[in-house]
Amino acid sequence: MGKLKLIIQREFIAKVRNKSFIVMTFLSPIIMVGMGALVYFLMKKNDEKVKKIVYVDNSGMFSKEDFKDSKTIHYTDYTALGIEETKKKVEAGNYYGALLIPKQDSLEILAKSIEFYSKDTPGMSFMNTIENKIEQKIRNEKLTNFGIDLGKIKASKINTDIKMYNFSGEESSKLINGLKIGVGAIAGYFLMMFVMIYGTSVMRSVIEEKTSRIIEVIVSSVKPFQLMLGKIIGNASAGLLQFFIWGVLLFVIITIASSIFGIDMMEMQSSRVPAEQMDAIKQTASGDKGQLIIQEILRLPILKLFVLFIFYFLGGYMLYSSMFAAVGAAVDNETDTQQFMLPIMLPLILGVYVGFATVINDPHGPISVAFSYIPFTSPIVMLMRVPFGVSWYELAISMTLLLITFVFMVWLAAKIYRVGILMYGKKPSYKDLYKWLKYKG
């Protein structure tokens, strides 16, 4: 036990002291936030460029009220000039484009015959804004023609939210479902990233011991199994520390950044959404709904989630990193790892894809359930399912399977590891690995 502790300590310190670890830990949150800020800044700059357009309204349906200047689009009325003249003027001048509204007999034909001329092809969001504007005007016009009071229409607007219950009395709603998907997806994705980054880190550390030829000195003092376990735990501790620091740093940086630059998260997310839609979002987010979200978050089985997260996180990490350790032991250098990496990576990636594809649609569908039982995908898929409420017996099956596979896999990996670390030269084939499994002690 004392030796295991020594090994864990060494692995942890070796990892943490590594320059790339320090750089990654402290720089990547700054880079991430910096990139985000940069993208936001550029986007804003891009949008801030005012587009000046002219319009010719031969239908006489639109008024100055309809073409009010917005932050990004300024309108000029060229109706008096006529279509042909306007086109020429715009082509020669400084205007971005010309919106031409002909006179038509019916609103339906009018809706199809409006044209926009510009030197460059306009962007999606610009066209959306213009189209929305015209669509709304024509719809209002039609409604008025039908003799419908626009005021009443406005007054009739209502948001529906069907509350969903299961028979154990848990309440949910679409909004909450979204939240659950978010929680599950983040947990699953996070697990995959952790396994990939720190699994390969374990592998590299094994290869380093082989190439530096210290391995035989070490295994004359400790059991290979102890060394492997120490490596896995030591690397995981370094990883957890890194994620913890990231969390703290991100929180601090975002807090500081948003107070300095006054960027509020809501605006950041919706800066590309047209104004009308944004209003709707703001409406939903404010007031009762906002409170509901907080209530619902509090109502999620947080303790259960947390415990399960830890279990699947550790289980999944141990399962995979033992395989990574075995691969590291089997080869002499990193370039030889490829052929063995694919079969390890595949179920991980499959887990994430299956999770995103099926759990979101139907968290209790047969595919979701099956993949949350299969030990190689269960850590990811089950974590995605858990926020939707998974019965205890299902959890029991999944956890037991993971536990059994994990123990079996570590045992198997240790056998390959034990033989592999002392093998130099030839790159082994799968057949060789199988042979190693049969070697005694």
């Binding site: 000195v217 070490i218 003092s221 400790v222 049969k438 002690g441």
Partner: protein, 309 residues
Amino acid sequence: MNNLLEINNVVKKYGDFTALNDVSLHIPKGSVFGLLGPNGAGKTSLIRIINQITMPDSGTVFLDGELLAPHHVEQIGYLPEERGLYKSMKVGEQALYLAQLKGLSKSEAKKRLKYWFEKFDISAWWGKKIEELSKGMAQKVQFIVTVLHQPKLLIFDEPFSGFDPINAQLIAKEILQLRDEGATIIFSTHRMESVEEMCDEIALINKSNKILDGKLDDIKREFRTNTFQVGVSDSNSSEIETLLKENFKVTKPSFKLLNDAFTANVTLTKGNTANDLLSLLTSRGEVNHFVEVIPTANDIFIQAVNKNN
């Protein structure tokens, strides 16, 4: 109990390949024991079994009268042929880590390391990383780490590789001193001159089998051919050669003399003795060279392996 290590009928197989076939060795306490054999003979397999890196398929190993058990790793020091240190770890930390893995407490390890670092005059390296040291320097650190926990049994596999002659001499001296202080040493090498210099006993392994073992002197006696190098000056060369051929087996000389004398290798045949040869020579001229050809470890190695093959 005179043997520190007793290996009895050890068999080790890797799949269909037999690495060790019923090998038994008895290694006396306080000796330097040469474990010799061509590449791939099974030496490393045997050494790994002693170090409990692998287990034998059958057979037993006793260390100091006890059946080999996990706690014995603390009584064994092993310098493998394939050796190295963590490149990016500092010398001092690394030595402390490895010493602690061998069961030393941190403070005790520090104390002993200080002693050895001063002895080898390398205290200045404590804070350096291994990658900053030359190969020879790193080997010194490795040697210290191997012997630091004062093991009863030391196993050196090609200990001199990577050392220049001066440092090799230093390490050889240290090894002999460790023996004098009571340690038992297994010494595996291809450098036969160091076998002559250091080993009390040897064992020769070839193709997974032990083909020879015992005291080096006894083995030499066993391999002696009663051949003498002779040099006679002031004589008639053809006459003396004819005379010698009547009674002895004469072969080409395996040596050179500085003066212009008759030289030959002469092997005693049935019935005659060294004195017979000598008196024949003295009657024909001035004998200025007369030496028995003692088989070197190298000769024995080559002869025994070739015969076995």
